[in-house]
Symmetry: C2
DNA sequence: TATTGTTATACTCTATAACTATA
DNA sequence: TATAGTTATAGAGTATAACAATA
C-alpha cells in the first residue's frame, strides 16, 4: 500500500490558495479606484522607480512577459497616471514615470489595500508577517 | 510628500508571485503524466477521501466554483482515474472515488512534485517550510 | 423552497510566435 | 546580430447566471 500525502500539506497548493484569497480581497478594495490588481502593481512600481523604468524591467519585476505589459501601460497612460517617453540615449527604450495624479492614486490604493490585508493577516501577528514575507522572498528569488 | 510602500513588501504580491513560481514548476513536473495542476489536485483529494466525496465538497476544498468541477471530473472519469456514481441515499449527489489506476498515478505525481519542490524550498529548511505551511493555512482559513 | 450537478457565456490571464525599430 | 517594444492569437482560468433533477 502506497501513501498519499494530503493536499493540504502541499506548499504550492496552499500558496496558490492563499494568493487567490488575498488577490480577491485586493480586487474588491481596488475596484472603487478603477484599478485592477495588475494595474495597481504596475503603477506602484512606476512610483518606486522615479528615475523612470523600462517596460522590460517592469515585466521582470512583475514576473510577466513583456508582451503583457503593453496594454497594461497603455491604460495607465491614457488615464494620465503615468507617462511613457522614448529614452533619448537609446531610442529602443521607453521610460515609464508616474505622474502626480498617479502617485496620489497609488497612495489611496495602498491605504485601501492595507486595511483589507491587515484584516486577513492579523492572526499572524507582526512577527509572523515578517517571517512570512522573508520566506516568500526566498522562494521568489 | 506621501510615502509609497515598495511592492516587494506586499504579502499579496509575494504570495501570488511565489505561487506562480511553484505552480509553473508543478506544471512541468506533471506534464509527462498528462496531468495539469488542477487535475492533480482533484485526483489527490479523491484519493484522500476514500469514502467518496461529492462535487460540491470537492469545489469547496479546491476553492473553486462548482461549475468548474464538471469538466475537471469528466476528464478524470474518462481516463478511468476516478469513478463518479450517483449516491443512492441522495440522488442529487454524485460520489467521486479514485480507482486503483488513479491512486497509482497520484503516487507517481507526488513523487515527481516532491523532487521539484524540495529543490525550490530547500533554502527555507525543514523548520522554515513547516512555519510557512502553518502561516499559509491560517490565511486560507 | 433549497440543494447538487450541469450548461452556457463572457471576461481575464497566460503562453507563444512573429513583427518593427533601433542599436 | 541582438534588444525593446509591439501585435496577434490560442489556450487556460475565473466569474456569473440560469437550468433540470432531486430533496
Amino acid at each position: 500500500m502506497t501513501d498519499i500525502a494530503p493536499l493540504s500539506d502541499d506548499i504550492g497548493f496552499l500558496l496558490t490558495r492563499a494568493g487567490t484569497s488575498l488577490t480577491a480581497a485586493a480586487k474588491t478594495a481596488l475596484a472603487p479606484l478603477d484599478l485592477r490588481v495588475r494595474s495597481y502593481s504596475a503603477l506602484a512600481l512606476a512610483c518606486e522607480h522615479s528615475g523612470g523604468l523600462g517596460q522590460r524591467q517592469l515585466a521582470e519585476e512583475l514576473g510577466l512577459d513583456p508582451s503583457q505589459i503593453v496594454a497594461l501601460v497603455d491604460d495607465l497612460e491614457v488615464r494620465e497616471l503615468i507617462t511613457r517617453r522614448v529614452d533619448p540615449t537609446d531610442r529602443r527604450n521607453k521610460r515609464i514615470d508616474a505622474t502626480d495624479a498617479g502617485r496620489e492614486l497609488c497612495v489611496d490604493a495602498q491605504r485601501a489595500l492595507a486595511s483589507t490585508q491587515t484584516n486577513i493577516l492579523s492572526t499572524l501577528g507582526d512577527q509572523g508577517v515578517r517571517e512570512l514575507r522573508q520566506a516568500l522572498r526566498m522562494i521568489v528569488d
